[in-house]
């Protein structure tokens, strides 16, 4: 048992008071390891709530630097951070929030060559990325290596999220193939209401915490779709696809680096 100092008891008191968390649940949180891929609109609030919750190790993977246009929604970064590596800016914010949390900064873009090694050190993965090639790669790698993860995507006033745990339907059971280039606008082209990352990214953090605690019902086999204009949340039941290119029997997963649409390529 972790020897909780009075300061820790006070910091986590609102968790410990919950029947579903308690002392042992807070211990689970403090010893948990969560990887957040993408320190952007979704990853920023997810990282901050997980840090506040006391998740012992938070990995943050992102190769980008903070851009002025990020600040409308990526609340882990500040004006003074523009030009700084996102992983460093995020690490500084988390360290200032909670000294109990260790941040592991992975300053890279995940690809088929590095993803297996990166995810292997974590209990749960939060997909906070902004493009389909990496979303499909994260799904395939997590299914292959039996890692639970939270998928999410946001655009304009809409968002969606689904949680994968081994055995449950995966992202490709619902969306088997990458949409063709140009079929779906990216948030760079289409815009996104800043709060969408907060709403959906915070749901991802809640899923990570519920998984760590082993309480409640995850969004496994459920696709949650949210429309901020109408304030409608819809939970759609999804099934495992017999023909799923990733998780069906004998699918034979190969990790592929799909090409990103040209307009999405980052300039450094």
């Amino acid at each position: 048992m972790i020897d909780f100092s009075d300061e820790m008891l006070e910091r986590y008191s609102r968790h410990i008071l919950l029947k579903e968390v308690g002392v042992s649940g807070q211990e689970k949180i403090l010893s948990a390891r969560v990887l957040i891929i993408g320190a952007g609109g979704l990853g920023a609030p997810a990282a901050m709530y997980l840090a506040a919750a006391g998740v012992g190790t938070i990995g943050i993977a992102d190769a980008d630097v903070v851009d002025l246009s990020n600040l409308q929604r990526q609340i882990i970064h500040s004006t003074a951070d523009v030009g700084k590596a996102k992983v460093l800016s995020a690490q500084e914010t988390v360290n200032a929030m909670n000294p109990d949390v260790k941040v592991v900064a992975h300053r890279l873009f995940v690809d088929s060559s590095n993803i297996a090694e990166i995810i292997s050190g974590y209990d749960f993965i939060v997909d906070g990325t902004d493009n389909f090639p990496v979303k499909y790669l994260i799904n395939d790698a997590c299914v292959l290596h039996k890692k639970p993860f939270s998928h999410a995507g946001i655009i304009q006033f809409k968002g969606q999220t689904l949680t994968y745990v081994p055995g449950a339907p995966c992202f490709r059971c619902v969306f088997p193939n990458m949409p063709p280039e140009g079929a779906v606008p990216t948030c760079r082209q289409a815009g996104v209401l800043g709060v969408m990352g907060g709403i959906i990214g915070t749901i991802q953090a809640a899923e990570a915490l519920k998984y760590i605690l082993g309480v409640g019902e995850l969004l496994a086999g459920k696709l949650l779709v949210f429309d901020a204009l109408t304030m409608n949340f819809r939970k759609i039941n999804v099934n495992k696809a017999k023909t799923c290119p990733t998780c069906s029997e004998g699918a034979g997963i190969k990790l592929i680096d799909y090409a990103a649409p040209v307009c999405d390529l980052k300039k450094h």
Binding site: M1, L9, E10, I16, L17, K19, G22, V23, S24
Partner: protein, 79 residues
């Protein structure tokens, strides 16, 4: 005074740290064993027994110590 297996004094704590400390003490008490809780009159004596019951613990005895404090004897997971 009756027998108990574990002891916690929460008279120096204020709500809600009072119950947080009780939960830590219960974590260190085995099921069916008795935790003795020393607590203040007022809010603690009004709220702690109810919170214990909500979480499935049985308050078997309440002693008024006559000095503004009480003693609770609680059986862990006794409900």
């Amino acid at each position: 005074m009756s027998e108990y297996d574990n002891y916690i004094d929460i008279t120096a704590a204020v709500c809600p740290i009072t119950f947080v400390k009780v939960k830590v003490a219960l974590e260190r008490t085995d099921d069916g064993k008795i935790l003795y809780i020393k607590l203040n009159d007022g809010e603690p004596i009004q709220n702690i027994p109810r919170s214990l019951k909500d979480e499935g613990h049985k308050v078997v005895k309440i002693e008024n110590n006559g000095d503004g404090t009480y003693g609770l004897y609680v059986v862990k997971n006794g409900l």
